[in-house]
């Protein structure tokens, strides 16, 4: 009789501890979701996260940290120089406005006798201060400028997620773009004398993917 009572007490305690543990874990998970972002720029703090479960649990801390890493690449001259605020590309490690009054044009490929590929060859031209190259050298088109220049991490993350600003890309298309696009890749193959990006493309893609997979949260600033 005494033995049965002891077992019953033990089982009751086990259930209580288990319930406590579940409650504690749930609290932690809920606390990470308080400022979730679901891809809609307006009133982002009020909406719950959506469709984040396929690649693991949403996690605002990991997501935001990953974007801040990717931001180092996105705002580097090798990427940002072709995502200017105006209609003129930028040049060099100091991101000065492209000499020779080069302009975007409707399709992002320049104007008249001043088209990008008139000077930018399919490959880098060897030598200092020579034009870097890619077969598809261009800016974003005039109706989808995809501006990076001057944006904070939070603002840039919003641009990345807004289909009206990102070339109508969903998460999958964004990852495909940063992973495989040849012109994006040319950022990792700078012309002679130009600064290199601070991490490999694989590392960048990993951070970018983590940002999206963990909930695509907006950085705080």
């Amino acid at each position: 009789m005494a033995q049965i009572t002891k077992n019953q007490i033990f089982n009751t305690k086990k259930v209580v501890y288990l319930l406590l543990a579940v409650t504690a874990i749930s609290s932690v998970v809920v606390s990470f979701r308080t400022d979730a972002f679901n891809g809609v720029p307006k009133d982002d703090k009020t909406k719950p996260p959506v469709a984040k479960e396929e690649a693991g649990e949403a996690d605002s801390v990991i997501s935001k940290k990953a974007f801040l890493q990717a931001y180092k690449v996105l705002m580097h001259p090798r990427c940002m120089n072709c995502h200017p605020t105006g209609d003129r590309p930028l040049q060099g490690d100091d991101s000065h406005i492209h000499t020779m009054n080069v302009q975007r044009g409707e399709d992002g490929k320049g104007l008249y006798a001043m088209k990008c590929s008139n000077c930018h060859q399919p490959q880098n031209t060897p030598g200092l201060h020579m034009p870097p190259g890619n077969p598809n050298w261009h800016l974003p088109p005039a109706d989808m400028k995809m501006v990076f220049q001057g944006k904070t991490p939070r603002q840039l993350a919003m641009t990345m997620l807004n289909k009206n600003e990102n070339g109508h890309k969903d998460h999958e298309a964004l990852i495909e773009h940063v992973s495989k696009d040849s012109l994006v890749g040319s950022g990792w193959d700078p012309a002679e004398g130009l600064a290199h990006l601070p991490m490999t493309r694989a590392e960048f893609v990993k951070h970018f993917k983590t940002w999206l997979d963990k909930g695509a949260y907006l950085p705080d600033k």
């Binding site: 008249y112 088209k115 000077c119 031209t125």
Partner: protein, 157 residues
């Protein structure tokens, strides 16, 4: 040997695929109207047309030009509708003349795409062609005149 089509004529050129097109045009084929300026796509003196686009031949490799239509200033002059050259002569545009073939090749692309350019359009199209003598005001005037000739099919007067 590399086959190049320059000004509607086929040439077998003894050039390596990574030779700048400018060298093949000037030194191998012997068409010296196209000039060497900076050698780094900064001045526009070497501008020729590659499938209708105003490429800088000093940085364009022979390999890129294979199978494409190359037109030099000599090819443009052969055209009876060479309104640009006529306007250039009419207004005495050149001073030393060194940059002028490149200027005209760039202007030709502008007039093909925009038959009635404004001053702003001309600046947008021509800013990659530098003139050490500073003939820019006459270049602009001549482009307006050539555009008028092109539209009216005459002398523009």
């Amino acid at each position: 040997m590399v086959k190049l089509k320059i000004n509607q004529k086929e040439y077998s050129v003894d050039a390596s695929p990574d030779m700048p097109l400018l060298w093949a045009i000037r030194d191998v084929v012997g068409l010296t109207g196209t000039k060497f300026g900076c050698g780094m796509a900064q001045c526009g003196a070497c501008t020729v047309h590659l499938d209708g686009e105003a490429v800088r031949s000093c940085v364009t490799l022979v390999s890129r030009a294979v199978g494409k239509e190359i037109v030099t200033i000599e090819g443009l002059s052969a055209n009876p509708d060479n309104y640009l050259q006529k306007a250039w002569i009419e207004l005495d545009v050149p001073q030393c003349g060194y940059c002028q073939s490149g200027q005209i090749m760039s202007a030709a692309v502008l007039l093909k795409e925009n038959p009635d350019p404004t001053d702003e359009d001309i600046d947008s199209a021509m800013s990659g062609n530098i003139c050490r003598c500073g003939t820019y005001p006459r270049i602009r005037k001549a482009i307006h005149l050539a555009a008028k000739m092109q539209r009216e099919g005459g002398s523009g007067k």
